[in-house]
């Protein structure tokens, strides 16, 4: 709880600092503030608590998810320092928006009440709408913002309608009581319909089939750092929220529900990976890659409580690799109008370390050992096989093979020296490099010792 308060204060403080013309201190201060919040959060590690009539719940798993969000925000804010160099006068807006986003994410996993969940979701979404359209003069950014906004509110409508139906069935928004009601009473059909509608909204948020169409367009149109945020923090937060809800609702769903989710997973994996094959814009590519990873994470959700550590591990591995990858993409595309894959040509010659970082990040996403992404997939496969989802696993394996192709394609481009634009001078950028390297080191650490995360649960 103290974390939430600290974060809220931090966000306000940032806005206040702007008033006092202390722009230079905003980012460092935010970073420190985030560290403090992280510390506060970790202090709650072993406590199980609830606040405000069970509006906010604190337990081990929320603490872990939130820690991950804070770490991701930390990196994103750090990247913002460089990214908003051109419009540094608005740094406070951008930074505070990111903290608000974090608050939304926090509420989405720590909710004890559907009200809190809805609020969290909306905070997150609205913040993202703003960020997506934040490059006002760029029509692409506008388009992304508009598309995201329209579809996002549409999805919000479904979620809200679902919540209303659930409320109708159980007469409460409190998760605890919903659980009680759903297990003890015979529920009217509205209940399952209600959750299905919520499911639709959540599937939209994590960009799963058939609600994934927005993702590539929005990812592509948004400013790069927003894309970073969407594909890491926002996606992970949505997945975590989904997981939290699934804990409660999955048991109450009809028997063929599992098949449905399994089908959606298969479809998402195929769509994501297949569509990524022919992309030449790195952001779009990452968007489709993100869709496929949503499939994987959905798989973890499907597997239920036992897979929670694996879900968390996967999320962490994916998000950290994403941060690393996007940092390098930011580095390469700083002065580029479009983020095309060809821009990476010969990058390895100029910046071998960063090229290797991006390679590792992509390989981690592809699931090459000994990187974290590999264990993420392995744990999932093992658990899914244990529970008998053979077809899902086989699809996952096959699509993983497909995914290798487009990841390796990017890597190869970086190592293509022939016809490389040798005149390109990459501006030195400490922040991007530092974040990239730091993220990849974390990835390697959790890859070498998955236990440090798995054993937390």
């Amino acid at each position: 709880m103290s974390t939430l308060i600290a974060l809220a204060s931090l966000a306000v403080l940032i806005l206040v600092l702007e008033i006092f013309n202390l722009r230079k201190t905003i980012v460092p201060l935010t970073l420190v503030g985030l560290l403090v919040a992280l510390g506060l959060n970790i202090c709650d590690f072993n406590s199980v608590d609830s606040f405000y009539n069970n509006m906010i719940v604190v337990n081990k798993s929320t603490v872990l998810f939130n820690s991950l969000f804070i770490v991701l925000t930390f990196f994103i804010v750090a990247l913002g320092q460089s990214f908003y160099k051109e419009q540094y006068d608005k740094i406070s807006d951008y930074t505070s928006l990111k903290i608000f986003l974090l608050i939304g994410a926090y509420c989405m996993v720590s909710f004890g009440n559907l009200v809190m969940f809805f609020l969290g979701l909306e905070i997150l979404s609205i913040t993202l709408y703003i960020l997506a359209g934040s490059d006002r003069t760029n029509i692409k950014s506008n388009e992304a913002g508009m598309k995201y906004f329209l579809m996002g509110s549409f999805a919000s409508g479904f979620i809200l309608f679902g919540i209303a139906l659930i409320y109708g069935a159980t007469a409460t928004f409190d998760m605890h009581q919903i659980v009680l009601a759903s297990t003890q009473l015979a529920m009217p059909k509205w209940f399952t319909v209600g959750f299905t509608l919520m499911l639709v909204g959540l599937l939209f948020k994590i960009a799963a089939f058939p609600f994934h169409f927005w993702a590539p367009d929005v990812y592509q149109g948004s400013p790069l750092l927003t894309t970073t945020t969407m594909s890491t923090l926002a996606k992970v937060a949505a997945v975590a929220a989904f997981y939290k809800l699934s804990e409660v609702f999955f048991p109450a769903m009809p028997t063929n529900f599992v098949n449905l989710i399994a089908f959606l997973i298969v479809a998402t994996l195929i769509i994501g990976n297949v569509m990524a094959l022919k992309q030449n814009n790195i952001k779009r590519l990452m968007a489709y890659s993100g869709i496929s990873h949503a499939g994987f994470m959905l798989m973890a959700i499907l597997l239920g409580k036992t897979a929670e550590p694996y879900l968390f591990y996967y999320m962490a591995a994916y998000a950290i690799s994403g941060i690393a990858a996007f940092s390098v993409i930011l580095y390469v595309c700083q002065d580029k109008k479009e983020e095309l894959v060809i821009h990476f040509r010969g990058f390895a010659k100029h910046k071998p370390v960063l090229a290797i970082t991006l390679s590792l990040a992509l390989l981690s996403m592809a699931g090459i050992p000994i990187l974290a992404g590999f264990f993420g997939k392995l744990f999932l496969f093992t658990e899914a096989l244990k529970q008998g989802f053979y077809i899902t696993v086989i699809t996952a394996v096959i699509t993983s093979i497909i995914s290798i192709y487009y990841y390796i394609k990017v890597i190869i481009v970086m190592f293509t020296y022939k016809n490389a634009d040798t005149h390109t001078v990459y501006q030195k950028n400490f922040m991007y490099s530092a974040v990239a390297v730091a993220a990849i080191i974390i990835n390697l650490i959790i890859g070498f010792c998955p236990s440090i995360i798995i054993d937390l649960f």
Partner: protein, 467 residues
């Protein structure tokens, strides 16, 4: 002495090589590989004295994975092959001046690390990790230092990478499934698992996809010739000399012990595929005009025999495949080195454009003859011991297998002698072929001594794995 030292030294060597400048990189790599060769020999001594050189350490508790490196006859032999072949390969590469040598040799050592790890690991997952790790360096070696136009090379290397990676993911799935049955990845547990025939079939096939592609077994071989052709010689040597042995090793170590009760029909089909591959590859080798491609297909033919022997699954097949793995490792490295030497002088791999070497370079020709005849399994060379044992193993299973697989000794002689005749014999056409240099002489001599020495006294090696 602990076997993990070898792995550590390879990693340290890789880092040191990367840090050194291009000039000294090759030397650093050579020194590292030599140190490890010595250590491997010491380990062998300790192992024979009955000392425990294994390393086991819990790594991940959930799922249960441990860093377990166990030395037994099989893995020790493979380790010896890796560590002893690597200095030869590196020394053989001194012929060529590679750009960014420090990166190249660093990758080479890293690959050696991964391969040694594959051979030592006794935990299925650790083994898999090393298996995959070995793929990355060779991919980059081929991609960045390979020959031919970038576009073609890229396509070839990506196909290779995708293909082998695709196969191994199925192996990963198989391991994951096995884990659900046993709750462990340890070889000791997995080899005891009792599978129903249906389960065994699926697991066998999943493994087969991984190993069949790596080895490669017909019809999963199409990546091979292209990859061998486009890779730099050092990459080709690593691929053919050591890496493809990973596949056969894995059959012996993992596939047969775990999925041994696979249905007889599948087993027979696989053996027949291997044998078909032998004849198929031999015939293609017969018509190959490119020396490297010819050697690639010849390698495929030989390895098909090894795989067939390994799949027979009896003790003769087991020892035969190990012997032939070592023999083939030295032979194929020797052959590719010879091809490289020719390339350095004639600047071509096209057999038609060669010829007239014998009259100018008798020493070279002699080495060529020895290695070539070792390749086609002439008695007195180590290649014979391997082929003999393997064919014997096949005949124990089914005499016709041995007869058909045995055609490889005829066809092998045919295409090798044909190649020899066109590439080395004949008259000169104003082409100058310099006699081997001291370095080349040394490398080739070592290979020949190993091949002949072990051919006459194979117990030196076979005592390691035959009780």
């Amino acid at each position: 002495m602990n076997c993990i030292i070898i792995l550590l030294i390879y990693v340290l060597g890789a880092v040191a090589t990367l840090a050194s400048n291009s000039k000294n990189a090759a030397k650093t790599a050579l020194v590292t590989s030599l140190i490890n060769a010595v250590i491997a020999l010491i380990l062998t001594g300790e192992y024979l004295n009955g000392n425990d050189v294994s390393f086991t350490q819990q790594w991940i508790s959930n799922p249960n994975i441990s860093l377990s490196f166990v030395v037994d006859g099989l893995s020790l032999t493979m380790l010896l092959l890796t560590t002893l072949l690597l200095p030869i390969i590196i020394l053989a590469s001194f012929n060529t001046l590679y750009s960014k040598a420090n990166q190249l040799y660093s990758l080479v050592l890293f690959m050696a690390f991964a391969m040694a790890g594959t051979f030592l690991a006794q935990d299925g997952l650790v083994y898999y990790i090393f298996w995959e790790l070995a793929l990355l360096p060779i991919f980059f070696i081929g991609l960045l230092w390979g020959s031919d136009e970038w576009k073609i090379r890229k396509r070839v290397m990506v196909t290779f990478f995708m293909y082998t990676f695709a196969g191994s993911l199925f192996m990963l799935a198989a391991f994951a499934y096995l884990y659900t049955l046993t709750g462990s990845f340890a070889w000791s547990d997995l080899s005891k698992v009792v599978l129903s025939t249906k389960e065994a079939n699926y697991i066998f096939l999943a493994f087969f996809l991984a190993y069949g592609i790596k080895i490669p077994v017909f019809p999963l071989h199409t990546w091979q010739a292209n990859t061998y052709e486009k890779s730099p010689t050092i990459g080709t040597m690593l691929l053919s000399g050591i890496m493809l042995k990973m596949g056969i090793y894995s059959i012996l170590r993992w596939q047969m012990p775990i999925a041994g009760n696979v249905s007889e029909n599948i087993l027979k089909t696989v053996i027949v595929l291997c044998i078909v591959g032998i004849i198929y590859a031999s015939l293609i080798a017969l018509r190959s005009n490119n020396l490297k491609r010819l050697l690639a297909y010849s390698s495929m033919a030989h390895v098909g025999l090894v795989a067939a022997g390994a799949y027979v699954g009896n003790s003769t097949g087991y020892q035969g495949s190990i012997i032939q793995m070592v023999a083939h490792g030295f032979v194929v490295v020797g052959l590719f080195y010879l091809a490289d030497i020719i390339y350095k002088r004639y600047d071509t791999y096209e057999i038609k454009e060669m010829g007239g070497i014998r009259s100018q370079a008798p020493k070279f020709t002699t080495f060529f003859l020895i290695i070539m005849f070792a390749s086609i399994g002439l008695p007195g060379t180590f290649g014979f011991i391997g082929e003999f044992t393997l064919l014997f193993a096949l005949s124990e299973k089914e005499l016709l297998y041995a007869v058909f697989a045995g055609t490889s000794i005829i066809l092998g002689a045919y295409y090798m002698l044909k190649m020899f005749q066109n590439a080395v014999l004949g008259s000169t056409e104003n082409k100058v072929f310099a006699e081997v240099t001291t370095k080349e002489y040394f490398v080739l001599a070592v290979i020949c001594v190993v091949l002949i020495g072990l051919g006459i006294y194979p117990k030196l090696l076979t005592d390691l794995f035959i009780q």
